[in-house]
Symmetry: C2
Subunit: 528 residues, 2 copies
């Protein structure tokens, strides 16, 4: 193995993974190290029974997706809700950044200077919703959030790897066509070169295997790979014969990290077509929820103390320059566990122990405003280019096609070492990094970029991290410790799911708590 080559674990650390900590789990899926990714749990919450007059009071700590959904469902059933949110905005990691928005990174606060146009935004956190995430989609539907298609996979995007092809960007289309073709040719040779008995495929009709192999690789009649229109033509095709591109060598292709990792990214259940995203930005979901329960949200209210009472919960918080204390029958606590365990509390020790062991993912994104949508001239209208530089990915917006300007995601990184490097840079230097590395993918990149914004979630005020990262061992041993309430206190959010980093985890964690509260209420009533 040359030094360009990587072990499976190393490749995993660099590519094939994605946002948040779900992140790490998703990447793992590429290599058969996977933990759960999707589900077919019920697509609707249990309908809460009306709480009756003077319904129980529920205090919700955090106005992210799990908190807002909880308030929405509870108020529909007559519970009295109050939401305390530490930061200046609701939504949590559902955060769409536009003109004027504050990115409240500690030591590095930025105001977004993008032009004030509806299509000039980027989703700094959650950005895509797989079709099987039925819980979050339930609310998109119920609240009338307009949806459009999203795609990770676009054959016209590039893969770039310094280790192969002189570091030149190569269209994913060409990678895929050649790898399929050459791999299929190898298989065909292997199958055809042996007597029937010598085959490991005794129970498979060899003819069908060859037919599949031919269709898979677009092999010629003689079962060799001679290039394919799938790779796009070198020239011609409409008014003259298309000229095929020359295939690359399989040995070279297989030296590329892309082929060993990211090429299979859109096979992952959560990353595969059809994906969707709200038209106009992911925060359309937050806005729709705020229309329902916005009046219950108090911003800039920082929780200082959580006390479990024999019945209910007492919370002290700091807001408007004063400390205040409130009591409630129930508390749904969405504060990130690694912060929560450092807030004054009287939680039982085993509960705290798990919180203290639960790590957080790191994630950074850099968004760039382009004065010209140069990628459209390169026949790119959505999807992701991959590079194994620190920027890792470039995303092209699927919206605002043909407009003058657009927002590129110029970097999306989740490898902890990479994110630490990016996080250690002041804003300007991050942009410079994105420009410099982006030029390996798009020559002359820099000339099109007017300005940028960056976000490192582990430096974000009141968050200090992305999704929870459960080790296998901790998940097995202690998930239910955090999932179960202590008294009337519930820890919720995507952190209390097998799917952190996804809104689906947040919603289902809330649904779990709501159902549990309902059980407690029904017990109380039947006891009366």
């Amino acid at each position: 193995m040359t030094t360009d080559q990587m072990t499976r674990r190393q490749a995993l650390a660099l590519l094939g993974k994605l946002g948040g900590s779900a992140a790490l789990m998703q990447g793992a899926a590429l290599f058969g190290l996977a933990r759960p990714a999707n589900a077919n749990e019920s697509s609707q919450p249990t309908a809460l029974k009306p709480a009756g007059q003077g319904g129980p009071k529920v205090l919700i700590l955090g106005a992210g997706i799990s908190g807002l959904i909880s308030a929405y469902e509870l108020t529909k059933a007559g519970y009295q809700c109050q939401i305390l949110e530490a930061s200046h905005r609701a939504g949590g990691r559902n955060f769409t950044i536009r003109h004027g928005d504050l990115i409240d990174e500690l030591g590095n606060p930025q105001h977004c200077q993008f032009d004030n146009e509806p299509h000039l935004y980027f989703n700094a956190g959650a950005a895509r919703i797989p079709a099987h995430h039925t819980a979050i989609l339930h609310y998109c539907k119920e609240l009338g959030v307009e949806m459009q298609l999203f795609t990770n996979h676009n054959k016209n995007c590039y893969a770039q790897d310094p280790a192969v092809f002189d570091g030149k960007p190569v269209r994913i289309r060409e990678y895929e066509a050649d790898v399929r073709g050459l791999y299929a040719e190898l298989v065909a040779k292997s199958v055809q070169g042996k007597s029937q008995l010598d085959q490991p495929f005794d129970d498979i009709a060899i003819e069908q295997l060859l037919q599949f192999t031919q269709a898979f690789g677009d092999l010629s009649a003689d079962m060799t790979y001679q290039g394919t229109e799938r790779a796009g033509y070198l020239s011609g095709g409409i008014l003259s014969h298309g000229k095929l591109k020359q295939p690359r060598a399989l040995a070279d292709l297989l030296r590329s990290n892309f082929v060993l990792g990211a090429m299979h990214f859109a096979e992952i259940a959560d990353q595969s077509s059809a994906l969707m995203t709200p038209t106009g930005g992911m925060d359309q979901i937050v806005n729709a929820l705020l229309k329902q329960v916005g009046s219950l949200v108090q911003l800039k209210a920082q929780v200082k103390r959580v006390q479990l009472l024999p019945q209910g919960v007492e919370v002290s918080y700091f807001a408007n320059g004063q400390q205040q204390t409130v009591r409630a029958d129930y508390c749904l606590n969405c504060i990130p566990s690694h912060l929560l365990c450092g807030i004054e509390n009287n939680f039982p020790e085993p509960y705290l122990q798990v919180m203290r062991q639960l790590r957080r993912g790191k994630l950074s994104k850099i968004a760039l405003q382009a004065k010209e949508r140069f990628w459209e001239r390169e026949q790119i209208y959505a999807g992701i280019s991959w590079t194994n530089q620190d920027i890792t990915q470039i995303w092209y917006p699927p919206h605002g096609v043909f407009k003058q300007k657009g927002i590129l995601l110029g970097a999306y990184s989740w490898d902890p070492d990479i994110v630490d490097r990016i996080s250690a840079l002041p804003h300007k230097e991050r942009i410079e990094l994105a420009l410099r590395q982006g030029e390996a993918v798009h020559p002359n990149y820099r000339q099109y970029i007017e300005q940028g914004n960056s976000i490192c979630w582990q430096r974000m005020n009141h968050m200090l991290g992305c999704g929870a990262v459960w080790s296998d061992e901790l998940l097995e041993r202690s998930f239910s410790v955090l999932q179960q309430p202590v008294g009337q206190h519930y820890l919720v959010g995507d952190q209390v799911s097998f799917h952190p980093g996804w809104q689906e985890g947040a919603v289902r964690s809330a649904w779990f708590a709501l159902e549990h509260i309902q059980q407690q209420e029904l017990k109380k009533r039947s006891a009366v």
Copy 2:
């Protein structure tokens, strides 16, 4: 081979092909029989030089895409254009059907009864635009046509084949995950079971080949396939461990036509991500062109006679109950060649000969109005399900997500025998066919469908066919005969391209003629 199994040519005839005659060529691409599919020709037309006062008169026969584009470019340069269109509408095979529209099939005219809602339409002809079709996209951009993503491939759609799995629909996600996994396992066995010398892969690093194989199939650490989250979980995944689905047997999977054909459909250059479609229907392109040149179009004007003159062209047509005759300096003739050769003319014999040999593709679509978007409950929001019944495909609309009703494409057939069978049915029986066969893909399908529309292009008035079908031999020998003008008469349209059935072929054919006219004009002027 059992009778379930098909030869490559047979499989080709049934699946893996698509609309029009480009159709046949595209399908062929699956099996290495391909002709050209895309191109990197210039993405802009040659700018026509101003024609000056009293610019030359150009008569355009047919208001499809090639005719409208021609008129748009020519009038910009000061040419005087007149467009005669035989049918009651402009657009040709760019035809979006909505409430009240007439589908003018001979002997089977229908008025569309879909509810009068903006999202309740279907694209009866052109429906998708690949990102490399830069000529038609040039106009979408220039004319401000709003675009959105489109996808053929959606892992949540189904493949259904009576020959396998008791004819039950299987998610494409499961097909793909299992086929990749089991195929990879076979390769791994084959590679690992041999001494290095025995390998056909001498020049490939075996370790990398195995790494790729593992990532490709999502194999376990021991290089066996044990199922994968890529197939979607049987249960759980968000609040509990996801339970993997049991893989199917490779022998069964390989007996499916889907695996041998359509599974590779979205690898075809013209069918691969990212595809786009105009928001609100493909005819937004026609509408944008009509805003520019609509006043030049005379509908219901049927050409009866085309005469080449020593200078120019004379055309007689029937309109408003009368025959009229006009002369022009140039004629751009978009009339389908198989009809044109039956109109009185004085074309040279070799020109006519080619027209007489040029066949037409057949294509039918059946659209169904669903009173409920039941597919969304099945986690489907776009894409295509495949079946090897006559209906061949079911398309789910990528627009109007979460609205009450939607229009499904309940059948999309291009195999000539199949289309002949559908074409021979009265409208009502076509709908019944779509419902009956659709129930093999979606049980209870029928209960959701309120009404439908059907279109068989070979019965469409003034068209009598879909895209041109060039045999290899005819294309080699005679393409340039039709592409070159006779005198001042140019045959244009997608029929005069290597890419019939696509708007890209229509636009580039027009561009070819326009550039030729420009050359003639420049010669004339320099001669003066």
